[in-house]
Amino acid sequence: MANFVTRTRGRNRLHWTDWVSYAYLVVGLFVMFGPVLWLVMSSFKTESALSQFPPSFLPYSQKEVVVAGFDKPLPLFLAKDESGQTRTLAQVRRIGIMATMVDPAAPETEIRVNINDRKPLNELKFASGNYTELFGKFAFGSYLWNSVFITVVATILTLLFNSMAAFALSKYQFTGQKTVFVLIIATLMIPPTIILVPAFLVISELNLLNNLWGVILPAVATPTGVFLLRQYMLTIPDELLEAARMDNASEWRIYWKIILPLAAPAMAVLAIFSFMWRWNDFLWPLIVLSKSENFTLQLALNAFQGELNTQWHYLLAMTVITLIPITLVFTFLQKYITTGIASAGVK
């Protein structure tokens, strides 16, 4: 094992460049994952723990105890009483610099303690309430549903439309075929940001404002998808199609019984991309969906960070939920994503 770790390029000891490389990687790990990890840990903190400064990495929160005679659970402190003894006391109230405390075991006698003489008693506690309360307090369920609906439907339609177009462009010779291909690829050069206003007009004329379909439809014909699938389908031998035609199969049947299954690897890559694009979409939904009941998770997050500045505990939990699907997809399909991007240069 030690041999394996210290293995280098042919020589037996680590060259200084190796040390520098590993140092860089460790710093990189910290810089790239640190912020995300910090966010995830913070999302488990209670509201009061979030406002503590300096912040702690782990979600500590103050211990509380139910004392007979008091309605609410009281926060626990380690405090010095008049005799100078350190005891675990529960705080009843605080006026100025003096806190009124009681011993949870004997709640009848009140003890007055200077607030400088007490220290909060903390425990490690993951506040799952941030997550569970989301569903009751906001229309969080519908944001989630909107996001899932848009992502799933748009991805299915993208796969269908793009594979049909790619099939036509790779397996048929028809007049105008080249023009069509060039036109589709040319749209790569036109970023959606440039046609924002007229695209908005089209959507509003089609009565699709504040409609999830207004987000889905413009997205289902992606030039990248057509290009990716076409390149793949060009490698499928034409003889297969000829054989099927001999058996009197219709062109449609050839498409979905022969071409689609054979193009499955490329379809999978496009499916992953489409999933990421639609799940992460922001500007277009922001323009099309203005009523809050139609918001996607991304829009809800954006709206909340403006409005609920004080409600970071919900905002953080919602952010974590939004990043989970992408993280899962990435964890399981890392290899396909990185090789797909490296070879096609898409994102």
């Binding site: 390029r9 994952f33 912040p55 940001t193 440039i194 062109e251 979905w256 799940w279 997050l301 290899k335």
Partner: protein, 329 residues
């Protein structure tokens, strides 16, 4: 799963009669139109048609969304955006926020391109070495690329807020906490940092692919000559990587010019207009302000389109030049 597939099969069968009919009608070769049809229709409606309408918007005024009900104003929109009494003084421009957004965008792109190239190159060089757990490290640097801009912005907003971890660091070092995003210089700084954090992995990947395509024997020859690592980098790696570096350079530029989401969520374009970029200007003029000035927004998008076109042409020129350079050797 099999039930799903069977349902899918039934659904697909529904199209069969349509295509049989089309086949009879169009003939065996022209049936391609039927397959490319849906895609073409969507692109026509949502891309080609808007391009045409955008031109109409740019030369008409008023606040009406319907192009037929907008008065023709000629180049008025462009004049509103671009006219200044004194071009050395932004304050004298009719729309100084537009100019500001352009300058911000240019400044942002220029700074970002240099830093992005540097960091993604260094990372790619490190990842290209014989290191343990290469796949894992590659994943580490790539992961933020997949996060949505809103999530990225919120992660950093949380780190940078007044009670955040950066301020805790400052206090621990004996300094006072800062309002990072309320100071115009710091806000700009963090916008650059966040954007590099979020996208570096993508460009690293492109450079890594380029590095792995460099033939090994060139390096073996260098080792025979006992060339020091730095000279190997300067004389072998960088020249051979040039095509990829150019691709990255242009992609970073094109993306930087179009920056919107992260910045919008992180700073809202502020403080003041310190981080307002051109796309945000278009969004605000066309959609966010009380009065929707579609004509101005369309004119601004045309100006943006010209800028992007220039970048794309520059890429074609540069990559042709570097290809020519390669064949000469």
């Amino acid at each position: 799963m099999s039930v799903f597939l069977r349902l899918l099969g039934l659904f697909f069968n529904l199209f069969e009669p349509v295509f049989r009919l089309g086949q009879k009608w169009l003939g065996a070769s022209r049936i391609g139109w039927l397959f490319v049809g849906p895609n073409l229709l969507v692109i026509s409606i949502f891309t080609f048609l808007p391009i045409v309408i955008n031109l109409v918007y740019a030369v008409t005024g008023g606040v009406n969304l319907l192009p037929t009900q907008r008065p023709f104003t000629g180049v008025e929109n462009f004049a509103i955006l671009l006219e200044c009494r004194d071009y050395s003084d932004l304050q004298s421009c009719r729309t100084d926020i537009f100019w500001r957004s352009i300058f911000n965008t240019i400044q942002f792109s220029a700074i970002q391109v240099v830093l992005m190239l540097f960091f993604s190159l260094v990372t790619a060089l490190v990842l290209n070495r014989k290191i343990i757990g290469r796949g894992f490290w590659r994943g580490v640097f790539f992961y933020p690329v997949l996060l949505s801009p809103v999530v990225v912005a919120l992660i950093w907003k949380w780190l940078l807020q007044s009670q955040g971890v950066f301020n805790a660091g400052l206090v621990a070092l004996g300094s006072t906490p800062m309002d990072w995003l309320l100071d115009r210089h710091w806000a700009f700084f963090w916008v650059v940092v966040v954007s590099i954090w979020a996208h570096m992995g993508f460009y690293t990947l492109i450079l890594l692919a380029g590095l792995q395509a460099i033939p090994k024997d060139v390096y073996e020859a260098a080792e025979m000559d006992a060339a020091p690592p730095f000279r190997v980098l300067r004389r072998i790696t960088l020249p051979l990587l040039m095509p990829n570096l150019i691709v990255v350079l242009v992609l970073v530029m094109i993306r930087a010019v179009q920056s919107f989401d992260e910045v919008f969520v992180l700073t809202g374009g502020g403080p003041g207009s310190a981080t307002t970029f051109i796309v945000q200007y278009i969004y605000q003029t066309g959609f966010a302000e009380q009065i929707h000035l579609y004509g101005l927004a369309a004119a601004a998008s045309l100006i943006l389109a010209v800028g992007l076109m220039a970048l794309t042409l520059a890429q074609l020129r540069l990559s042709k030049a570097s290809d020519a350079g390669k064949t000469k050797k």
